[in-house]
């Protein structure tokens, strides 16, 4: 096992891939948190698809495959696509979901037209651009890392600088605008950060699936905490974790596309979080619900016995108690009574079942 990891760390390509995946995961996870909180999860999907024509256009115009140029192209067109969505929603009766669908599919269609155009160019092969569809972590180079680091770093820095304002935008925009902040400008800022976060991951995860890296870490992190600071940090960690694990699997297993496997790892994180997170998780809630049911049934029995106690009777017959519980199976009725005896709330005497002083106290404390 240790050998395996040290061999992983020694591998230069893999080191590059892991650093890249970390950049990507931290940026998209923490910035995606805001998209998740603002119920704009699918915005990332539309933006990432729209980045494709930007990448193709940047290549067509400059003839260069330098990551800074391609990603800047994706950034600009992704940003324009987000603006188009805002315009459609503002100036027509078309709803948000429809605007997303239009922008996503049309921009991607234009991207496909440009890609097929590039493919026909005699001078350059398309090979370098195809990786942007599903991502190819193995093609990451040092210069890609530099660009990803700068983009992601600037986006994270802006997030920290405008932290308070962004928080207002997410949780109480009306209050924010009453304080004099321009919510439109902030909305634009957060959308821009989102575009940057998406562009950082395009080469590793690809345009088709990049949206998951925006949603999944945020959704997973949401289950573990109610505090924004912790949620953002946790989402960054989850993002980095899925990026790294996915990238390792993809480079160790033959013919394993990077984007999809990263997506599956992050999806697994979401499922685990939904099941096991304390307070919100399904299993925790199931346990809590059961505990409450148990307590209510116990209280019912104790109150029932208390009525007899108030009437001055010294005990109640077992038959009556069991009838009272006729909605439960025999086994569970006996278990319940045994538990009450064991807790010292109920005891069985010569006159039948009666409350102990401790049981009486518990009934009184219910009121």
């Amino acid at each position: 096992m240790i050998n395996f990891f040290s061999s992983l760390l020694g591998d230069h390509t893999l080191k590059t891939v892991m650093i890249g995946a970390t950049f990507l995961g931290v940026t998209s996870g923490s910035i995606g948190t805001f998209a998740v909180l603002r119920k704009q999860s699918l915005l990332g999907d539309a933006i990432s698809h729209s980045a494709l024509p930007g990448i193709a256009l940047a290549f067509l115009l400059t003839g260069s495959r330098a990551p800074i140029i391609l990603l800047t192209g994706g950034l600009l067109v992704g940003w324009i696509s987000a603006l188009c969505m805002m315009v459609i929603v503002k100036y027509s009766s078309i709803k948000y979901d429809g605007a997303l669908g239009i922008i996503l599919s049309v921009f991607f269609g234009i991207g496909m037209v440009l890609m097929s155009f590039i493919q026909r160019l005699p001078t350059a092969s398309q090979a370098g651009l195809n990786k942007f569809l599903f991502g190819r972590a193995a093609t990451l180079l040092q210069e890609d890392l530099v660009v990803m680091g700068w983009f992601g770093g600037i986006a994270l820095l802006l997030m920290l600088i405008f932290w308070k304002e962004i928080k207002l935008l997410c949780f109480n925009p009306e209050f924010g605008s009453s304080l004099g902040f321009s919510m439109l400008a902030l909305d634009l800022l957060v959308t821009t950060l989102l575009v940057v976060a998406i562009v950082v991951g395009l080469q590793t995860v690809g345009v088709v699936l990049m949206s998951v890296m925006i949603i999944a870490p945020g959704v997973a992190a949401r289950q573990w905490t109610n505090r924004l600071e912790i949620m953002v940090i946790l989402a960054g960690v989850f993002g980095a974790f899925s990026g790294i694990i996915g990238a390792i699997i993809s480079s160790e297993v033959r013919r394993m596309p990077t984007g999809p496997i990263i997506v599956l790892v992050s999806f697994l994180l979401v499922v685990l979080s939904i099941l096991f997170a304390p307070n919100r998780g399904l299993i925790y809630n199931l346990y809590r619900k059961n505990a409450i049911h148990k307590k209510i049934r116990e209280d019912q029995i104790l109150i029932y016995c208390y009525h007899f106690y108030q009437e001055g009777l010294e005990g109640v017959s077992g038959e009556k108690l069991l009838n009272r519980l006729n909605f439960l199976s025999n086994r569970r009725r006996i278990k319940l009574l045994n538990r009450l005896i064991k807790d010292g709330l109920l005891s069985f005497g010569s006159k039948g079942w009666h409350l102990t002083p401790k049981g009486i106290n518990r009934v009184l404390s219910l009121k």
Binding site: S93, D97, G101, I102, L104, S105, V106, S211, V263
Partner: protein
Amino acid sequence: MNNPALEIQILAALVAVTCTLSGVFLVLRKMAMMSDAISHSILLGIAVAFLYTNSIHSPLLILGAAATGLVTVFLVELLKQTNLVAEDAAIGLIFTALFSIGVIIISRYAANVHLDIDAVLLGEIAFAPFRRLTVFGYDLGPKSIYIMAGILLLNLLFISLFFKELKLITFDPKLAAALGFTPALIHYSLMGVVSITAVGAFDAVGSILVVALMVVPPLTAYLLTEELENMLLISGGFGVAIGILGYQMARILDVSIAGSMASMAGLLFLLTFLLAPKKGLISIIIRRKQQQFSFACLTLLIHLFNHEDSIEINEESNEEHIIDFMRWPPPNTLKIINQLIEMGLITNDKHILRLTDQGRYEARIGLNTIKPSTEN
């Protein structure tokens, strides 16, 4: 009939029309992104059915894929019901997960065969004429046309049989439930039809462009009409136009047919968005300007009306004062005053503005529409 260009156009138009039909209901039910989800996740069904049958043209593929479409809808609902994940996030998580599994299966087990990743995104409408349907040695044309025509027929049947029900659950799902229609049943049937349609279209235009055909033409039609029947007809018409114009553009520029169809859909949408008679951007801007102007006119009339019988009329109704008081840009205020004089609602009596009888009447009506509760 052995003319590939014509055949491709017929197929493209067929695919587009079929997609728009179910798309109309998706869009109206604010489920546009469900088309994105379904068109992606059906890949898993196709991949699994492909592993099982080893053929890409088996009918099992359509069934398997349609089933995955329904599974997607079901899983999204399930995730949503936990109340831990918002609906849009649930959609975004489920379909990408299923799609990813599909992509992994294909790239690991089926990469050498017909089914490759490019085809997933782009479709292969250009190859459709090579796969022909022959009966007793007669060449009846490409198979895909018949499959797609069948799916179109299914759509038409479904919509015409359940038109009332679909209309009801689209516009008033609660009433539908109260009247005893089971919205869930119709919902899942619709999703089933959408899935089958997506599978058929997938073969031709690829997964993402199915979205273009399901969402863009219906929303374009939505800007032009408010009748469901008209919306179906208009978006069908747009579908045909997209199929034919998209193919022509692809031929002229020698680029991807599917991509060019989506671009054409976008172009038609853009034109409609700008130019539509009632809901277009330009007419909305003109209307907003007009409303602004007529509201300003009314405000001025009411101002004059309020001060008409008071002592400070000489001051309040002074032209200079009004320009100052209304805080509109002075040229606009002058324009408004001139307009009102022209309409005979006010007179300018030595720089004091006075209401005419007609103007007083208009101001009173205006006051009542603004504050209806003060009437009686």
